[in-house]
């Protein structure tokens, strides 16, 4: 089953603490209520929708709930931190399966709440659960086109699934102003060399590059994702590069994104590649990720080493994908 949450609250993901679970929850997405109508129309697989009514006008709430009820694939719950719903029991009479008020949210809910909800759905609408099980099976047969354990079987011109890493230095404008063009190009070239050496140890290859950043591709075999380990280490050890290897006088800050997606692979002429995954990762890196952060899309965590899961927190949704942010290591005692 999928979980779709319509809310404008940025704090909600932290409070809900929902995570994907292979057997129960295949996807969790946070969507702005402004996209409600368009998004509801596209729901074709069993989905548990939560509607955060705090940003909705009181008289519009029944209309939203009716549209949720209309879609056979949807079961729904209501998030009501402002106590806008006067008759909560009525919600359940009309088919809702959950209700979260401020006190419940403040206590945190987590995955433990899902089991009783699923049991409740079993009682009132078992067909949704059956469809959900079928859908999960289909999801497991997802259309990955694994590029393999290494580059041996990757043929230019064909489409493959890769682990893609977006990397871009922060403070481009400031750097262009502060350093001379020659110094900057030397420092940028040295950063690129460092990155190339670092990702090579994990089978990665810098694929696209334009001065301040680019895209690294890692072969993906649909069994594991060593690229996550690579990016995690890059974040953890980066200050050692700052001190021992960097040509920049200041501490470097960069944004990283890791995503698993499909793209045609070419060795040259990468400027003409058409790939939804590639577009998404660029948008995510340039519009969503904060300076100095490392974000991943949800699928990455599924294939990454389980020990790394505790180091990622929900960070909201972007273009329909759930995004998680790495908790940052704190090494430095004072900022300079």
């Amino acid at each position: 089953m999928k979980i779709l949450i319509f809310s404008r609250s940025r704090k909600l993901p932290e409070k809900l603490k929902l995570r994907r679970r292979k057997d129960v929850v295949e996807q969790i997405a946070y969507v702005d209520p402004g996209e409600f109508t368009a998004r509801i129309k596209t729901v074709r697989t069993p989905t548990l929708c939560y509607l955060d009514v705090s940003s909705l006008e009181q008289d519009k709430i029944p209309s939203y709930l009716r549209r949720l009820k209309k879609n056979d694939c949807i079961v729904y719950g209501v998030i009501d931190p402002g106590s806008k719903i006067r008759d909560v029991a009525r919600l359940f009479h009309d088919g809702a399966v959950d209700y979260l008020d401020r006190r419940t949210l403040d206590g945190g809910i987590g995955m433990g709440r899902l089991n009783p909800i699923l049991a409740f759905i079993q009682g009132i609408n078992p067909a949704v659960l059956e469809k959900a099980a079928e859908s999960t099976q289909e999801q497991r047969r997802a259309p990955y086109k694994p590029s393999g354990y290494d580059w041996a079987s990757v043929v230019p011109g064909k489409e493959y699934t890769f682990a893609m890493m977006f990397v871009e230095l922060d403070g481009k404008d400031r750097m262009e102003k502060s350093y001379g063009a020659k110094n900057l190009s030397i420092a940028l070239a040295s950063f690129r060399r460092y990155l190339e050496g670092f990702v090579r140890q994990f089978g990665g290859k810098v694929w696209m590059w334009s001065s301040f950043g680019g895209i690294v591709l890692f072969p993906f075999d649909a069994k594991s994702c060593p690229a996550l380990n690579c990016a995690f280490r890059l974040m953890l050890f980066r200050h050692l590069y700052d001190i021992e290897g960097s040509h920049f006088p200041n501490f470097l800050s960069f944004r990283l994104v890791l995503h698993i997606g499909n793209t045609p692979y070419t060795e040259n002429d990468t400027g003409h590649i058409v790939s939804d995954s590639l577009n998404s990762i660029f948008h995510l890196g340039q519009q969503f990720v904060q300076p100095g952060d490392f974000c991943i899309t949800e699928e990455v965590l599924q294939f990454g080493h389980p020990a790394l899961r505790d180091y990622f927190l929900p960070a909201g949704a972007f273009e329909g994908r759930n995004v998680l942010r790495m908790r940052l290591p704190i090494h430095r005692h004072k900022r300079k």
Binding site: P329, R332, H333, K336
Partner: protein, 305 residues
């Protein structure tokens, strides 16, 4: 220290073909204190020593005193910068450098020194330290937290495997920065650093060790709980000996006190003399720790958001 007859021959030829006897003697005196060529060669002081004889005598004395490498470094410097503003071109210098490379050394241009190239031939004294002589060194000490309880709780095989991993990690990190492992005793050891920036190299090695251990605990450590260590860096004079047990040094004693009494678990602690060399980037990683009314130490620790 490794030397070969061919290396000695090249140096003797280089001296005799590149400079006068007075300059040879002055250069020799820079690496052997109070060097007196007449006294060493037995020539009467009123008779000029032929260049070839002088060069052979000096080379032989350098080899005997274990200073051939330092002298080769000096020849490189003289060739580049001259002496007292006068250019001096050293003949056969490429052959001398090549011969040293064959013997397992490489020339570090930034430091102007020959260091062991690595691989199997690494020695505790970098191939240049002389037994019994005192040097200014930096030391990094690592110790496992709760060794006794680990040994009781886990099988011998598992503990040995983990400690071998710890040693492998530590040695790799230290040798990457031209440090040398001087001692290892089961669950911990001591590494030494001598070259330029020795304090920075020792501190960075300690920091990297904490990070590598964090990754090791995430992915590899077979123990139920993470393996924890304490690390400390201190600098000062210390006599060199291939046999660590023979070394008596206040610097090493102080290092042990700093580590065992003041280092927290999973932290690196450095003494003020080390901290003063950290520079304005690296010092931001260290937090002052008042250990007595007049004494400060500095601590690095990895924390998470």
């Amino acid at each position: 220290m490794k030397i070969s007859p061919r290396l000695q021959n090249y140096i003797a030829q280089a001296l005799s073909q590149s400079m006068e006897v007075r300059l040879m003697e002055r250069l020799a005196a820079r690496v052997i204190n109070g060097y007196d060529l007449y006294e060493r060669s037995g020539f009467p002081v009123n008779i000029p020593i032929p260049q070839v004889d002088a060069a052979r005598q000096i080379t032989s004395d350098l080899a005997r005193s274990g200073n051939i490498h330092r002298f080769a470094e000096l020849l490189v410097e003289v060739d580049r910068r001259g002496v007292m503003g006068r250019p001096v071109s050293i003949r056969l210098l490429p052959q001398i450098v090549k011969e040293l490379e064959i013997l397992g050394y490489r020339f570090k241009v930034d430091q102007g020194k020959f260091v062991e190239a690595g691989g199997q031939g690494k020695t505790k004294g970098w191939g240049v330290l002389i037994e019994g002589q005192s040097y200014d060194l930096s030391f990094l000490r690592i110790d496992t937290v709760g060794n006794t309880s680990l040994v009781r709780k886990y099988s011998k095989q598992m503990v040995v495997q983990v400690y071998n991993d710890l040693r492998r990690l530590f040695t790799g990190i230290v040798e990457k920065r031209d440090g040398r492992l001087w001692q290892w005793e089961g669950d911990g050891g001591i590494a030494a650093f001598i070259y330029d920036n020795k304090n920075v190299q020792a501190a960075l090695s300690g920091m990297e060790m904490l990070l590598e251990l964090f990754m090791y605990n995430l992915f590899q450590c077979p123990f139920a709980k993470p393996l924890q260590v304490r690390l400390a860096v201190h600098t000062g004079p210390c006599p060199f000996s291939e046999n660590f047990e023979r070394i008596r040094s206040d610097t090493l004693r102080r290092l042990e006190i700093i580590e065992s009494e003041f280092a927290e678990n999973d932290s690196l602690i450095i003494s003020p003399g080390v901290y003063s060399d950290m520079g304005n980037k690296l010092d931001t990683f260290f937090r002052p720790l008042r250990v007595s009314r007049h004494n400060l130490l500095y601590q690095y620790k990895l924390n998470w958001e």
